[in-house]
């Protein structure tokens, strides 16, 4: 029998490429579906959220200016490293979501495959969403999609990995940087994803993961003038309306929360890419 005592992990935030505790010093107990203790996760504060926005803004210039091919390769690399953590993800998803081993495996498989799917989108968006416009004048006029900027994502509360990947990967594929508030009750796969991101060439600050309560941190992100868009998918139903109103203050792009959490296995189409893309139109002169 193996009687070795396990070395347990401290689950922390992932901000600007590092794994800090919450500056507030707060943690909260995370349990499995049956209520057994799993870990004490960091409970992110307003200050953590603001630090994360600063990190995301700082990372935006470089990430958005990377070539689409480069961004695609970096994102594909994330999937490769996720694959190596497959067993760990399965354990965390199974425990947190109360799934059987086989269903947890299916969710993890789908999450990795979803990440690969989005990795392949980076260098197609320009062709699919852009185009040349036949204006009546001596101009070469073209429109191209560009990233919106810093996106605050309130991740799904139930699907802790597949749901998270389904909302995060499209934000990154478009060239945005992200501040994510993870599932409150099921944050552990997100922290592990942070470890994957930290070791797979995603520049520091491009993804920032905050464990804690979206109801508490969400308003600070929705109101933050340096956040360009909010995805309210995981917003607490009672708070969603107020969050959308707060987001109006700086004309943020808003993805409204679904009536109930969707089936993340379904084909997402472009529905999660386009809300975080702007269209830039350039009139280039033609002449001798």
């Amino acid at each position: 029998m193996n009687d070795r005592l396990a070395v347990r992990k401290t689950y922390k935030l992932y901000v600007n490429g590092a794994f800090p505790r919450s500056e507030s010093g707060r943690t909260y107990e995370v349990t499995d579906a049956k209520g057994h203790f799993l870990a004490n996760a960091a409970r992110a504060s307003r200050k953590d959220a603001r630090d994360a926005v600063v990190a995301a803004r700082g990372a935006f210039a470089k990430w958005s200016a990377a070539t689409a091919y480069n961004r695609g390769q970096v994102l594909y690399r994330v999937a490769e490293v996720m694959e190596g953590r497959h067993v760990q993800f399965c354990e965390e998803v199974a425990a947190g979501e109360g799934l059987s081993q086989s269903r947890a495996r299916a969710a993890v498989d789908a999450a990795i495959d979803r990440w690969v799917w989005y990795a392949g989108w980076t260098d197609k968006l320009g062709a699919v969403l852009g185009g040349a416009n036949p204006v009546a004048g001596p101009y070469f006029d073209f429109s191209l999609p560009e990233p919106t900027g810093v996106v605050a994502v309130l991740a799904p509360q139930r699907s802790s990995l597949l749901g998270l990947v389904s909302v995060l990967a499209p934000v990154l594929a478009g060239g945005n940087t992200a501040v994510v508030v993870t599932s409150h009750q099921r944050p552990l796969p997100a922290v592990t994803l942070g470890e994957v991101l930290a070791t797979s060439d995603v520049p520091a600050g491009v993804v920032n993961l905050l464990t804690g309560d979206a109801g508490e941190i969400g308003p600070w992100l929705a109101e933050h003038d340096d956040v360009d868009a909010v995805d309210l998918t995981g917003a607490p139903a009672a708070r969603a309306l107020e969050l959308e109103r707060q987001a109006a203050g700086s004309i943020k792009r808003v993805v409204r929360p679904p009536a109930e959490e969707p089936d993340w296995a379904a084909d997402p189409g472009l529905s999660r890419l386009t809300p975080f893309l702007e269209t830039k139109t350039v009139w280039h002169p033609m002449g001798l």
């Binding site: 699919v128 969403l129 852009g130 185009g131 416009n133 036949p134 204006v135 009546a136 004048g137 101009y139 006029d141 429109s143 999609p145 919106t148 900027g149 003038d225 360009d228 969603a240 309306l241 959308e244 109103r245 987001a247 109006a248 203050g249 700086s250 004309i251 792009r253 808003v254 189409g269 472009l270 529905s271 890419l273 386009t274 809300p275 893309l277 702007e278 269209t279 830039k280 139109t281 350039v282 009139w283 280039h284 002169p285």
Partner: protein, 482 residues
């Protein structure tokens, strides 16, 4: 010495247009009395009252929305797409046939020079209908996902700076995609929309497909907040845009906003200066600067600053300010007393904050609302005239030394609607355009519009696009906004 190059007056006749002493609302294909009080619309160049127009109440808006819903469900929605397109082609042709009439009416009600209403507003409005007419039966090939379907009833609120053109930008894509509309024109410029109602009747457009409810802010609010409106499209100030975004929060309404701007017009030292000066003038004095994408911040490379300013002042000194109906007029009237007060306030602040105001010697008419073309130099990025949208003929001049500095200064704004680049170097155009956070970038030109070319902003200049394939998504269910 008298100027040997005096222009003789060349006024366009206003007899081509009949303005009724009063107008009702256009609902369900009929002009009907509103239940609210009426208001006066004046010619801003003379302060003469042009007509009395009904002010739509919430009750009137409800009537219009019900008419639009009926038309959507029974007629316009089920109609063969090719037939919807044919109606739009008819409208485009009718606008062309009555172009002179529309141009004169627009200049009377808005104060813009006839040269612009005749050569820009009206032809572009017609072109917008012509373009979208062709889309009506080709939406399956627009690359917006399978089987694109309309949203239903669109509530649209438009501004006073391009009354007919903004109507066209809103109504043409909505109708082409199978929606019906309730449109609220601006309080100070309702007349061309009411003449458009007559065009709808001449086109035999089925009743209820287009409804026009005139009024002020309360009428607009009633349109935006009506529970049976599926789509809200707004062009106007960022402040009102915020309140609209708040108002539709928590609903299923799809929203597009085209808001304010503070565009940088960047002149590099290799630019052809004369051409650039024409572009700067066109960028800020077109339509009295009442343009959301106006090039209101001139960023000029330091080593050509003096040359550009001297040339600019010489050119501005030749601009003719006055009667909008005179075909030689370059700058017409400010649209309203309220807007004139705002321009005065911001320019006074500009001076108080330490910028240098320059205005040419120019005689302004005694009656009406007028403001001379104005250039501020010694402007710092912190000055309010460098940050706030003036929406008037007021240019703020800043300088830069390197391309990086130009980009940093250009992007140093909460807005992101448009920008201009002046240089002889094509590769520089593309590099700078790539780095600007703005929805429309003009190179060696400014304030160009085309129905095929998507228009709209980044950041607090709003979201959604108007025009082109991209503009269709604002009016289609589930369509992925490119």
């Amino acid at each position: 010495m008298t100027d040997p190059f005096q222009y003789a007056p060349a006024p366009e006749s206003r007899s081509i247009v009949d303005i009724a002493p009063s107008y009702g609302l256009f609902v369900d294909g009929e002009f009907v009395d509103g239940t609210g009080e009426s208001f006066k619309t004046v010619n801003p160049a003379t302060e003469e009252v042009l007509s009395e127009v009904a002010s739509g109440t919430a009750e009137d808006v409800d009537r219009a929305v019900r008419a639009a819903r009926r038309a959507y469900a029974r007629v316009w929605g089920p109609m063969r797409p090719a037939d919807r397109g044919k109606y739009l082609f008819r409208i485009a042709r009718l606008l062309q046939e009555r172009a002179r009439e529309f141009a004169v009416l627009e200049s009377l009600d808005n104060g813009k020079p006839i040269r612009e209403s005749r050569d820009v507003d009206v032809p572009l409005a017609a072109a917008h209908f012509f373009y979208h007419a062709g889309w009506a039966d080709k939406l399956d090939w627009a690359g917006l996902g399978p089987g694109p379907r309309p949203l239903g009833v669109a509530g649209q609120v438009i501004p006073w700076n391009f009354p007919l053109l903004m109507l066209a930008w809103k109504v043409a894509p909505a109708l082409a995609t199978g929606n019906t509309v309730v449109l609220k024109p601006a309080e100070t410029t309702p007349l061309s929309a009411l003449l458009f109602a007559e065009v709808c009747r001449q086109a035999d457009l089925p009743p209820g497909v287009v409804n026009i409810v005139t009024g002020a802010g309360d009428t607009g609010r009633a349109v935006v907040e009506h529970p049976d409106v599926d789509k809200v499209a707004f062009t106007g100030s960022t402040e009102v845009g915020r309140s609209i975004a708040r108002a539709v929060a928590g609903t299923a309404k799809k929203l597009t906003l085209e808001l304010g701007g503070k565009a940088a017009n960047i002149v590099f030292d290799d630019a052809p200066i004369d051409q650039a000066v024409e572009g700067i003038v066109q960028g800020i004095f077109f339509n009295q600067g009442h343009v959301c994408c106006a090039g209101s911040r001139l960023l000029v490379q330091e080593n050509v600053h003096d040359e550009v300013i001297a040339s600019l002042q010489r050119r501005i000194g030749r601009l003719r300010v006055g009667d909008p109906l005179d075909k030689n007029t370059d700058i017409g009237a400010i649209n309203s007393a309220e807007q004139l007060a705002r321009i005065r306030e911001l320019t006074d602040i500009g001076e108080a904050e330490g910028a240098q105001r320059w205005q040419p010697a120019c005689e302004l008419p005694e009656r009406g609302f007028w403001f001379p073309p104005t250039v501020f130099t010694d402007v710092s990025p912190a000055h309010r005239i460098a940050r706030d949208e003036v929406f008037g003929p007021v240019l703020s001049v800043l300088t830069f030394r390197t391309p990086d500095e130009a980009v940093a200064k250009a992007n140093n704004t909460t807005y992101g609607l448009s920008a201009g680049i002046w240089t002889e170097k094509g590769s520089r155009i593309l590099k700078i355009a790539d780095q600007l956070r703005a929805g429309v970038v003009w190179a060696n030109t400014f304030n160009k519009f085309d129905p095929t070319s998507p228009f709209g902003g980044y950041k607090q200049s709003g979201y959604g696009r108007e025009g082109g394939r991209h503009g269709l998504t604002a009016y289609l269910q589930g369509a992925d906004r490119p």
